[in-house]
């Protein structure tokens, strides 16, 4: 009984004075080591991208290089037209972000601010839509895009439009669900005030509501961008013969050769593919975390 009474006391003191906790130094050393381990593959990727070929094709790899070179980057850009694939990826992800921004915002406003019959049903459908494994839809979508292509070639197979269409659709359910929380957090009084000041519904939506949910829009945009940027399956399925319309993930795989993988080029390509997402991520990380928290709380 006495030990049971004493133990919580120690716990209490530990909480009031966290500086005195003996295990903290150990915890901090562990944290730093874990962080280094997690970051290591990224470090290795960038390092290899800058290593000369002789040091990559070595059975005695070193975790540094004294003769960094841009040779691998030069090779992927000149020999393999990487700039083109990079641009393709930027176009697909950029267009998806811009359009899904508008579409999901409008839908979120309708589902949060307007009362109409069937609203709950729609909300449930959006939840269900998030659970559809879109990868399973590859086969019907392949045939759909093939028939779309005979009417509007730009949205058919072998064109970037087909990728834009599917990624747009796939990013919408989560984006709508996430923005709903942000739109709902804007007090209704604000809308009444705006109405009293003579703003119509349209003006209120775009001039008041839209800027107010900006953090949610940023987080949502990042997620849509990454989703489209990272896609491998649909790019592989839809872009069959038009190599000039390939996106980055496929272009990197070109360097895997039966005669021996060109690791320098693979790592240079992977670095180029990772950097935009990384910059994006670090830049908006605060919004990202609050965005996910907002979506979770909604």
């Amino acid at each position: 009984m006495t030990t049971a009474a004493r133990a919580p006391k120690r716990g209490l003191i530990g909480r009031v004075l966290p500086g005195k906790r003996p295990g903290r130094t150990l915890a901090e050393i562990t944290t730093v080591l874990v962080a280094a381990t997690i970051a290591f593959p990224l470090y290795w990727m960038v390092l290899t991208a800058f290593k000369p070929d002789g040091q990559i094709q070595s059975t005695d790899p070193r975790p540094w290089t004294l003769s960094p070179t841009l040779e691998n980057f030069r090779q992927v850009f000149t020999v393999d037209d990487f700039g083109r694939y990079f641009l393709n990826s930027v176009i697909v992800a950029g267009v998806v972000v811009l359009i899904s921004l508008v579409m999901s915002f409008l839908a979120a406003v309708a589902l949060t601010r307007f009362r109409f019959r069937g609203r709950t049903v729609l909300l449930i459908m959006i939840l269900v839509a998030q659970m559809v494994p879109v990868e399973a839809l590859t086969i019907p979508l392949f045939f759909l895009m093939r028939s779309v292509g005979s009417v509007a070639p730009w949205f058919g197979l072998n064109h970037l439009g087909s990728l834009i269409l599917v990624h747009l659709a796939f990013s919408l359910p989560f984006a709508i669900w996430m923005l709903r929380g942000f739109v709902a957090a804007v007090p209704v009084e604000l809308e009444e005030a705006a109405t009293l000041d003579g703003a119509g519904r349209f003006r209120f939506t775009w001039q008041v509501l839209f800027p107010l949910v900006a953090p949610g829009l940023v987080a949502m945009s990042v997620l849509s961008f990454i989703h489209a940027w990272n896609d491998f399956l649909f790019a592989k399925t839809f872009i069959i013969s038009a190599t000039e319309n390939q996106t980055l993930p496929l272009a990197i795989l070109v360097f895997f050769k039966p005669t021996g993988n060109d690791w320098g080029a693979i790592m240079a390509g992977s670095t180029l593919m990772t950097i935009p997402v990384l910059v994006f991520f670090v830049f908006v990380q605060r919004h990202l975390v609050s965005g996910i928290a907002g979506a979770v709380k909604a």
């Binding site: 919580p8 716990g11 944290t31 990272n230 990384l278």
Partner: protein, 328 residues
Amino acid sequence: MTAELTTESDPRTPPGSTEARHGHRRRRSGDNGQARAAVLYLAPAGVLLIAVMAYPLYQLVQLSLYEYGQAQASGGAPLEFLGLGNYATLLSDSRFWMVLVNTCGFAAVCVLGSLAVGIALAVLAGRVRWLPRTLLFLAALGAWATPAVAGSTVWLFLFDQNFGLVNEVLSGLGWQGMAGFSWTYDRFTAFGLVAGEVIWCSFPFVMVTMYAGIKAIPGEIVEAASLDGASAWRTARSVLLPILRPLLIIATIQSIIWDFKIFTQIYVMTDGGGIAGQNLVLNVYAYQEAFAGSNYGLGSAIGVVMTGLLLLITVIYLWAQRTTGENT
């Protein structure tokens, strides 16, 4: 995800005031105006979702009921209705069962791994000062941000048979057999390698979510628990866990959904499903059947099975959570 639905009853507006306001608005613009605006606002997203998600989903089921091969896909041959024939083929195919076991085992390892690492690091992050915590979050953010293809290629290179750092270090440490060891040759080491990459890039989501949850718990609750004589373990189990349960459910379901339908990592790291298809999972199997084997009908049937399984797992998990949640 459905868990959020229970908290969905608009907690932000107190019921009384909503009624009053609602009535007021109805008098001003009328329900019809709102409904019309709602249709207008919902139309772009709705049309796209119906065309590119709902319709293909219907088509997926339809395709799975037909014999649909190269001859039908290129346009000429008539369709042959098989009913559940494709499913019967699958169920009697020993390879399908192997792939199913692969998928479930692989997803289970990845989900448990991401949850364990993510929760452990979230707890750790809550106990250290600013600098180590920031380093940890930056590293995790980096892993999270890395595209699946890039992550797969880096891990492949680290574990490369001849030029990989891991083999070099292990053999340098005196483990002679590791020089020239092929990680992708054996079925289990190959799966282990892919699982490592998947956990590496999916634990950050769990960590960030759980860390936000832990931070949001008021210190008074923990103090009160310890004043009442609860041990650290008991506090964690009986006080913190119930508070964190909703977040934990979201993290778990999200992980299940992600890991069950992994495609890119398996495809890139095991070169399309491993030696003789030993590393196939459902998603890759469906792709190979359809686009490499021109069995679009059979591939669709695999897709339907995968969708159904995913739905089933999520529903069972939610149901189990709800029952245990009511008991405690």
